[in-house]
C-alpha cells in the first residue's frame, strides 16, 4: 500500500511531464490530481491505524542502492507514527492544492508542466519522510529542492522568478553542505547510514569526542549541529532564511504546498526523526533552541511591516517554523510535530485564501490596495478568518480552541517547563513573537477585509478596469501572476469616489473554494481532536521520536499564568491591530516615522539580502573574473605554454629546420625516440 502512496505521484508526474502539451491539460490534471487523491485516501487509514494503536511500524524494501565497502544502503519505505503523520499532511494538502490549482492556473498555457512538477514534488517529499536511511532522506531532500526550484521559477520569463529560484536552490545547498558532512561524520562514527541503527548505537558515542577541522569537539554535538545546518537551510531558519520570502515569486498554490505546509517543515521532521540523537547532544539542542527562538522573533518583526500579502504569510511561516525548532530544541518533539501538523492545515489555508484574494483582486498583492473585501468575497473571508483564529491561537483553556491554540500553547509551556536557560529565553521570545503573530495576522485581516476600499490606486485594478480582461499583453512582464480568471467583470462605472474605481472583485470558482472549506475544518478542529495523542501519549508515538515523560509532566504543572500567556498576548496583539488599522489608521504611519531607523531596518528585513550580496555574491563573481584573467590567462598561460612558445621562438632559430611544424614529424620523432629507448633497454 505504501508503495502505491509513494509511487503514484511519481507515475503521474512522468505521464504529465513527458506527455506535456501533447497530452492536453485535462488529461494531465486528471491524472495527477487523481493520483494524489488516491494517495491521500490510502494514507488516512494508515494514520488512523497508528492513532488507534493497531498499526505496527515496518519497512518495505524496494531496491538495493549502493554497496561500497562497508557502506551499504537501499531504497526502502519506512512507516511508523512519525511517517504516518507526515503522510496525511503531505497527501492531504497536496491533493487539495492540486484541486485548487485547477481553478487558479486555469488560463496558464503550461498546465501539464505545472501539475507534473507538483506531483514530482509530492513524490520527493514522500520519499523523504519514508526514508529509512540518511541517504534516501537526502534524496528526498534534494528532490523537493529541485521541485521547489522548478516551481518557484515556473514563470521563467520573469527575471525575479529565476533569481528567486536559483537563490532558493543555492541557499539550500549551503545547508546541504552541513547535512552531507553530518552524514559523512555519522558514517565515520557508526559505520552505517541506516537511521534505526544509528539511533540504537547513539548512546555508545555519548561523551566521546572527535576532531573536526582541527578542533576537538563532542562527537554528537558537532554531528547534530552539522545536520541542523541542513535543517536550517530547508526550513529557512535565521541566516539561511533569505530564500523563503523570495520564493513567493512562485504561483500561490506552490507557496501553500511547498513553502508553508510541507517542504519547509522537512528540517523539523529531520530533527524529530533523529531526536534520540539530538537528545544526547545538549549543546546542539541548545543551539537549535536559540536559533529557533531567534528566527521566531526575527521573522515576526519583519512580518509586521510588509505590505505584500504573500510576504506577510511567508514571514509568518518562517516564524512558526522557529516555534517548531525551539520546541524540538527543548526536547518537546511531540509538541513540535503537533505544531507542524496543525500549522500545515492553517498555513495552507491562509496561503490558498490569500491566493483567492489575489485572484479576486486581479493579481494585486499589495494590501495597501485592498480593503472592505469582507462583503465581496465572503467565503474566502470566512476561510481566512478560520485560518487567522487558528494561527493566533484563539481558545479557552480546557474548553475549546482553534488548532494553533493547542500546539502553540504546548510549545510555550514546554519551553518554560524545560527549566534551562535557553528554554526560558525561548519562552519569552516565543511569547513576544506570539504577540507579533497576532498583530500581523489581524493587521492582514483588517487591511484586507475591513476598512474602506482602496483599490482605485492599484495599477493591476486599473488595468483590469480600463483594458478589460481579455488583453493578453497587459501584465508588463508576460505571464506574471497569471492574469485574470475569465470571470466577467461588471461594467466599469465612472464613479471613483468610493475607492473601488468601479472594480468589483469576484469570488473564486468552487474548485478553489472547496479546498479552502476542507482546510478550514482542519484549522478549526485539528488541535481539539488530536492534541491528546500528540502531546500526552507515549503509546501513540510508539518510539518513533524521543519522548520525554518528565517534560510532559512538567508541562502540565506550569503556573497558570504561563498557560494563559499565549491567550493574553494574542488579545494584546489583536487590540493593537484593531487600534492601528481600524480605529485610527494614521497611527501606524506616525509610529513608523517616529521609529524611522528601526522601522527601516525591520522593513528591509534586517538587510540580510544586502549583506549577503556584499559578502558572498559580489566577491564570488569578482574572484571568478580575477582568477580567470589574472591567474589562468595572466599567469599560468603566460609563463606556461605561451612562455615556452616564446622561448622556442627566440631560441630555436638554429633548430628551425627540425621544427617543421608538421604533426607527422613530431610523431615520427616520438616514435624514433621510443624505438631508440626500447632498443637500448633491450640490448642492455
Amino acid at each position: 500500500m505504501i508503495e502505491i502512496i509513494v509511487f503514484a505521484p511519481l507515475l503521474a508526474a512522468i505521464v504529465a511531464g513527458l506527455g506535456n502539451r501533447g497530452l492536453g491539460n485535462t488529461v494531465a490534471k486528471v491524472v495527477t490530481t487523481g493520483a494524489l487523491f488516491l494517495s491521500c485516501a490510502l494514507s488516512w487509514p494508515i494514520f488512523l491505524g497508528f492513532l488507534g494503536g493497531t498499526a505496527e511500524p515496518g519497512v518495505v524494501p524496494v531496491l538495493h542502492w549502493v554497496q561500497s565497502g562497508s557502506l551499504s544502503f537501499d531504497w526502502s519505505l519506512r512507516v511508523d507514527t512519525l511517517t504516518a503523520i507526515m503522510l496525511v499532511v503531505i497527501t492531504s494538502v497536496s491533493a487539495l492544492v492540486h484541486l485548487y490549482s485547477w481553478g487558479y492556473m486555469d488560463e496558464d498555457p503550461d498546465q501539464p508542466r505545472f501539475f507534473a512538477y507538483l506531483s514530482l514534488f509530492t513524490f520527493a517529499m514522500l520519499m523523504l519522510v519514508t526514508a529509512n536511511n540518511l541517504v534516501q532522506m537526502f534524496f528526498g531532500w534534494e528532490g523537493v529542492g529541485l521541485a521547489s526550484y522548478l516551481l518557484i521559477g515556473f514563470w521563467f520569463r520573469k527575471p525575479t522568478a529565476n533569481a528567486a529560484a536559483i537563490k532558493a536552490f543555492v541557499v539550500n545547498r549551503v545547508g546541504d553542505l552541513g547535512f552531507m558532512l553530518g552524514i559523512f561524520g555519522l558514517f565515520l562514527v557508526f559505520g552505517t547510514v541506516s537511521i534505526p541503527e544509528i539511533l540504537v548505537a547513539a548512546p555508545t558515542a555519548a561523551g566521546s569526542s572527535i576532531t573536526f577541522l582541527g578542533m576537538r569537539l563532542s562527537t554528537l554535538d558537532i554531528l547534530c549541529f552539522l545536520l541542523f545546518i541542513g535543517a536550517m537551510g530547508k526550513s529557512a531558519q535565521l541566516g539561511l532564511h533569505v530564500w523563503l520570502p523570495d520564493a513567493m515569486e512562485g504561483p500561490t498554490p506552490v507557496s501553500a504546498l511547498i513553502h508553508a505546509a510541507t517542504m519547509v517543515t522537512a528540517g523539523v521532521f529531520m530533527v524529530c526523526r533523529l531526536s534520540p540523537l539530538f537528545e544526547l547532544a545538549p549543546v546542539a539542542s541548545t543551539i537549535v533552541t536559540i536559533i529557533g527562538a531567534a528566527t521566531c522573533l526575527f521573522a515576526a518583526t519583519v512580518g509586521t511591516t510588509q505590505w505584500d500579502i504573500k510576504r506577510v504569510i511567508a514571514y509568518s511561516t518562517c516564524s512558526q517554523l522557529g516555534y517548531m525548532f525551539f520546541a524540538a530544541g527543548v526536547g518537546a518533539y511531540g509538541a513540535a510535530m503537533f505544531h507542524l501538523f496543525t500549522h500545515a492545515f492553517f498555513k495552507a489555508l491562509l496561503f490558498l485564501g490569500a491566493g483567492s484574494v489575489i485572484h479576486a483582486m486581479h493579481h494585486e498583492q499589495d494590501m495597501r490596495y485592498y480593503g472592505n473585501l469582507r462583503k465581496e468575497i465572503p467565503i474566502t473571508f470566512w476561510a481566512m478568518m478560520a485560518g487567522t483564529l487558528a494561527i493566533t491561537g484563539v481558545g479557552i483553556l480546557d474548553v475549546f480552541g482553534f488548532a494553533g491554540f493547542y500546539s502553540k500553547d504546548a510549545i510555550l509551556e514546554a519551553a518554560y517547563a524545560s527549566g534551562s536557560e535557553a528554554g526560558r529565553t525561548a519562552f519569552w521570545l516565543g511569547a513576544f513573537a506570539a504577540l507579533l503573530t497576532s498583530f500581523y495576522s489581524w493587521r492582514l485581516m483588517f487591511l484586507t477585509f475591513w476598512g474602506r476600499p482602496r483599490w482605485a490606486l492599484s495599477e493591476h485594478i486599473q488595468h483590469a478596469v480600463h483594458h478589460g480582461h481579455d488583453d493578453p499583453d497587459e501584465a508588463n512582464p508576460p505571464r506574471q501572476e497569471n492574469s485574470d480568471m475569465g470571470e466577467p467583470h461588471h461594467v466599469p462605472s465612472p464613479d471613483k469616489g468610493d475607492g473601488t474605481a468601479g472594480y468589483h472583485p469576484h469570488e473564486s470558482p468552487w474548485v478553489m473554494l472547496i479546498p479552502l472549506l476542507i482546510l478550514s475544518v482542519g484549522a478549526v478542529f485539528a488541535g481539539f481532536v488530536f492534541h491528546h495523542q500528540f502531546i500526552d501519549s507515549a503509546a501513540f508515538w510508539n518510539g518513533s521520536i524521543a519522548y520525554d515523560e518528565h517534560l510532559i509532566h512538567a508541562m502540565h504543572d506550569v503556573p497558570l499564568w504561563v498557560k494563559l500567556t499565549a491567550t493574553i498576548v494574542m488579545l494584546v496583539g489583536l487590540f493593537i491591530a484593531w487600534l492601528g488599522y481600524l480605529r485610527d489608521t494614521s497611527i501606524p504611519g506616525k509610529f513608523a516615522d517616529q521609529l524611522g531607523p528601526i522601522y527601516r531596518f525591520v522593513y528591509n528585513k534586517w538587510y540580510f539580502d544586502e549583506l549577503y550580496r556584499l559578502i558572498f555574491i559580489r566577491p564570488a563573481f569578482w574572484f571568478g573574473r580575477q582568477f580567470w584573467h589574472a591567474v589562468d590567462v595572466g599567469f599560468i598561460d603566460r609563463f606556461g605554454p605561451n612562455g615556452v612558445a616564446e622561448l622556442v621562438d627566440k631560441g630555436a632559430y638554429a633548430a628551425k629546420r627540425l621544427q617543421s611544424g608538421y604533426l607527422y614529424s613530431y610523431a615520427l620523432i616520438m616514435l624514433l625516440g621510443l624505438v631508440a629507448a626500447t632498443s637500448w633497454f633491450m640490448v642492455r
Binding site: Q67, R625, V633, G640
Partner: protein, 523 residues
C-alpha cells in the same frame, strides 16, 4: 574490438562522405555491441584479468591485452560514447569527412588499447598516440583559433609524457618486466617511488587535468568540434584517472601517501577556483570545461582517500562525468548547430520553443550538480565520504563544490533555457530531431540508471578496488591525519575496554570492514 574500428578507419580514408559516415557508424555500433558482450561475459568475482591476449613481439616487448573491472567500465564508456559522437558529427562536419571519421575510429582503437594494455610500453604507445587523432581533430576541424588550441594541447601533454617515458624505462629496468600486473605487485624502493610518482603525476595530472596544468582544456574544448569535445571530456580525461588507479596508486603506494597532500591541495584549489571561474564565463563550452576541472578534482581527492568508498566514488565520478559532460557538450552542440554561436547571451527562453531540449538539458544540468537519483550524486557522495575519513578540512572544501556547482550550472541554465526570448533567431530554432533524440536519450537513461541502481557499475569493479585497497593498506601504514575517536578522560570507565581498537571506540556490532583495512592512521 580493436580490429573493427581499425578496418573501418582504413575504409573511411578511401571513401566519400556519405559512405564514410555509414561505415563509421556501423563500425562503432559493432564495437558497442562487442562492448556489451564483453560486459555480459565478464565474470564478476572471477579472475582479476580476463580476456587476456598475449603475444611476444620482440625481446621483452609484448602485445599484451587484458582487462579487469575498472578497465571494463571505461571501455564500455568509450564504446558507448563513440556512436553518439559519430551521430553528433553527422551533419556538422562537411569537409574531409572520410579523414575525420577515420581519425575518430583510430581514436577508438587507441582508447580501448589504453584501457586494455597490459604491457608498459604498449600502454605508452596507445596513451601517446591517442594525442595524434585528437590533435588532428582540433587542428583541422576546429574553430577559428584552432591552431593555438591544438598546439597548447599538444605541448602540455607532451611535456608530461616525456617524463613518464623516462620513468617507465627506469621501472622496466628495475623490475625486469614490462608486464603491468607484475609491476603492480612489485615493491619499488621508497626513495625511487617518489621520483617515479612525480614523473607519472606530471603526465596524468595534465591529462586529468589538475590545477594548475588545466589551461589547455578550456581552449581545446572551445575549439574542438562537438564530437571532439565529447570524446575529450568523456574519455580522454579519464585516462589520467585511470593512470592513477593503474600506476600511481598500486605501484607506488608509499609515494602516493607521501604526496597525497599535494593532490589534496591542488584539488581543493581546483574545486574552488575553477568553480568561480566557471561562474563568470560567457562561452558555454568554456563554462562546462571549467566545471570538468572541478569535477576531476573530486575524482582525485576520492582516489587519494585510500579507502574503498573514495576509490569507488572516484571511478563513478569518472564514469558519470564521462556521460554527463559529454551530454552537456552535445547539448551545446545541438544549439550551436542551429545558431553557430556559443555565446550564452545569444540564447534565452529556449524552454519555450524547445521544451524537449530543455528537459534533457535540465536533467544533465542536475546530474552535473549531483542531484541524488542521477549518476553525479553517487560518485560525489562516495568520494567525499571517502575523503572525510581522511580529513574533514579537505572534505569541507571539496564539498563547497556542490554549492558553487549549483550556482554556475543553474546560472547557465537560467540564461540559456529560461528568461525571455531575446533573439528572434534563437526563438525560431526547432526542437530536437530524431537523430538528436537518439544521441541524448541513451545517455539520459544511462545517467538515471547509474543514479538509481549503480550496483551494475560498481559490481564489476568491486573486487579490483578491494584488491587495490588491500595493497594500499599494506604498503602505506603511516596513514595520515584521520579523525580519531577517543573516549574523554572523564568517561574512561567505559572507554578503557574499547580503547585498544585503535581509537575507533564507538563502533556498534557491524564493524565496518573497510575502516580497518584502510590505512589505520598513526595513532
Amino acid at each position: 574490438m580493436l580490429l573493427v574500428p581499425f578496418v573501418g578507419a582504413i575504409a573511411c580514408l578511401f571513401s566519400d562522405a556519405r559512405a564514410a559516415r555509414t561505415i563509421a557508424l556501423v563500425a562503432t555500433l559493432i564495437d558497442l555491441a562487442l562492448g556489451i558482450v564483453l560486459w555480459a561475459n565478464y565474470d564478476i568475482g572471477g579472475a582479476q584479468w580476463q580476456f587476456v591476449e598475449h603475444a611476444p613481439v620482440f625481446a621483452s616487448f609484448n602485445w599484451a591485452l587484458g582487462i579487469d573491472g575498472i578497465a571494463l567500465m571505461l571501455i564500455v564508456l568509450s564504446v558507448f560514447l563513440m556512436p553518439i559522437c559519430i551521430g553528433a558529427s553527422w551533419n556538422a562536419i562537411t569537409t574531409r569527412v572520410g579523414e575525420y571519421m577515420a581519425a575518430f575510429l583510430f581514436m577508438e582503437v587507441l582508447m580501448i588499447g589504453v584501457f586494455a594494455a597490459q604491457d608498459l610500453f604498449l600502454f605508452y604507445i596507445f596513451f601517446e598516440a591517442g594525442l595524434i587523432p585528437m590533435y588532428l581533430i582540433i587542428g583541422v576541424w576546429g574553430g577559428d583559433n584552432r591552431i593555438y588550441a591544438s598546439y597548447k594541447f599538444f605541448l602540455y601533454t607532451l611535456f608530461g609524457s616525456v617524463l613518464m617515458l623516462i620513468a617507465m624505462l627506469w621501472m622496466a629496468n628495475e623490475a625486469g618486466t614490462t608486464y603491468i600486473p607484475a609491476l603492480m605487485a612489485h615493491d619499488f624502493p621508497v626513495d625511487a617511488q617518489n621520483w617515479l610518482w612525480l614523473a607519472f603525476f606530471a603526465s596524468f595530472a595534465v591529462k586529468m587535468p589538475m590545477w594548475p596544468v588545466h589551461t589547455w582544456l578550456p581552449d581545446a574544448h572551445v575549439q574542438a568540434p562537438t564530437a571532439g569535445s565529447v570524446i575529450l571530456a568523456g574519455v580522454l580525461l579519464k585516462m589520467g584517472g585511470y593512470g592513477f588507479i593503474r600506476f600511481s596508486l598500486p605501484m607506488f603506494p608509499e609515494a602516493s601517501e607521501h604526496f597525497a597532500w599535494l593532490v589534496y591541495i591542488l584539488s581543493m584549489v581546483a574545486v574552488v577556483l575553477t568553480s568561480l571561474i566557471a561562474l563568470v564565463q560567457h562561452d558555454m563550452k568554456k563554462l562546462i570545461a571549467y566545471s570538468s576541472v572541478a569535477h576531476m578534482a573530486i575524482v582525485t581527492v576520492g582516489l587519494f582517500a585510500f579507502n574503498v568508498q573514495g576509490i569507488e566514488g572516484g571511478m563513478i565520478v569518472m564514469l558519470s562525468h564521462g556521460l554527463v559532460s559529454g551530454a552537456l557538450f552535445l547539448c551545446v552542440g545541438v544549439i550551436y548547430d542551429r545558431l553557430h554561436t556559443r555565446e550564452i547571451s545569444r540564447y534565452g527562453g529556449l524552454a519555450i520553443n524547445m521544451p524537449q531540449y530543455a528537459l534533457f538539458f535540465l536533467l544533465f544540468t542536475m546530474a552535473s550538480i549531483g542531484l541524488p537519483g542521477t549518476s553525479g550524486f553517487v560518485g560525489e557522495f562516495l568520494s567525499l565520504l571517502g575523503i572525510y575519513q581522511v580529513s574533514s578540512w579537505v572534505a569541507l572544501v571539496a564539498t563547497t563544490g556542490i554549492i558553487l556547482g549549483a550556482g554556475y550550472m543553474l546560472y547557465l541554465y537560467w540564461r540559456v533555457a529560461f528568461g525571455v526570448q531575446r533573439n528572434a533567431d534563437a526563438a525560431a530554432m526547432p526542437d530536437l530531431s530524431v537523430r538528436e533524440w537518439l544521441m541524448l536519450g541513451p545517455i539520459a537513461l544511462a545517467v538515471l540508471w547509474m543514479g538509481i541502481y549503480p550496483e551494475s557499475f560498481l559490481a564489476p569493479m568491486r573486487a579490483d578496488i578491494h584488491r587495490l585497497d588491500a595493497r594500499l593498506a599494506r604498503a602505506a601504514p603511516e596513514g595520515d591525519a584521520r579523525l580519531v575517536l577517543v573516549e574523554p578522560t572523564a568517561a574512561t570507565v567505559v572507554g578503557e575496554e574499547h580503547a585498544p581498537v585503535g581509537g575507533e571506540a564507538a563502533h556498534p556490532a557491524p564493524a565496518p570492514a573497510a575502516m580497518h583495512t584502510a590505512p589505520e592512521g598513526a595513532h
